[in-house]
Symmetry: C3
Subunit: 130 residues, 3 copies
């Protein structure tokens, strides 16, 4: 059944997994730009936060035997439109065409203080992994 993908430090107190794989589907939890000490990397800088989130995705994808090529959709929840368009630069660093589907909306608040953006994703791994 579902298998947790936990690439880094993780607390027993958490009631969710950073990502879950079942068959060839990989569901990546909404992530903010926290480091291993739960501090936000890139305070006030939505571009830096996006880059850190994708680095966390990279660790998850590697642990699942996958890559950014397998991500089929991302959902961005952000707190400000200021500089949000500049996060496209980060997408080009991690994704190559054809790009995944994407949705982005401004929300009222994120759980983590200082987080400007949270991103979730779904990936479909190679059929061989089913």
């Amino acid at each position: 059944m579902r298998e947790a993908i936990i690439p880094g430090r993780w607390s027993e107190r958490m009631t969710f997994s950073p990502a879950v794989r079942v068959g060839n589907l990989l569901f990546i939890s909404g992530a903010t730009a926290t480091d291993d000490d739960r501090q936000i990397v890139g305070v006030g800088d939505i571009v830096a936060q996006t880059r850190h989130i994708f680095r966390k995705f990279a660790a998850i994808l590697t642990a699942a035997g996958a890559s950014f090529d397998h991500i089929v959709e991302t959902t961005d929840y952000f707190l400000t439109l200021a500089d949000y368009d500049k996060t496209a630069v980060v997408r080009r660093e991690f994704f190559r065409p054809p790009y995944p589907a994407a949705t982005g909306v401004q929300v009222a608040a994120l759980i983590r203080p200082d987080a400007l953006i949270e991103i979730k994703a779904i990936a479909v791994l190679d059929a061989l992994r089913v």
Copy 2:
């Protein structure tokens, strides 16, 4: 094709299903803590509302021949961070490790008055059900 999962009372006026199954995928609509009379259970209490939503999920999962073990991701949309951390207690009541992926964001409003939280989910059923 898609099959509606409708465990309880449902109105012909609705233009969505409580859940939809196709193959071994189950998509659960965003649910608030409404009872069969469309009244919110646990007004002012996000923990009680979360518990009621998961009870509704339980009815859906049973009707689909599935369980909480099959849920791979949840998305929480809530109106307040006050006591939101306490909803983790409810997750422990219904889920067992490895936990599903999860995303949670504070939104501007929910459709249902008095609702403090709305949760959607995706489940992957056993391959035998495909």
Copy 3:
């Protein structure tokens, strides 16, 4: 792997695809009621905007060899509850029972000025297309 579904005009500057198909799964990006010139159709009219979005979905579905019957879930992000209930009329124009799963939340803002609603969707195509 993932295949981009691009039914109309699309800019090389975009870092996402209108939709992505992999196997029999189709992920449709969050869409607002923009026309080919990136102008909102139905300014101030959430019902007209919803209809335009579903027309864009129709083009995507056709390009993917699918139909509204294959959509399994939709997520609505809207800016106002005023007249939101009237968007159900549009759902009846495009969907037939059993209806897909659905989630709808009011967000703080959408990227596109004048957009009142943004909708994303997931479809599962016929197994023959896997």
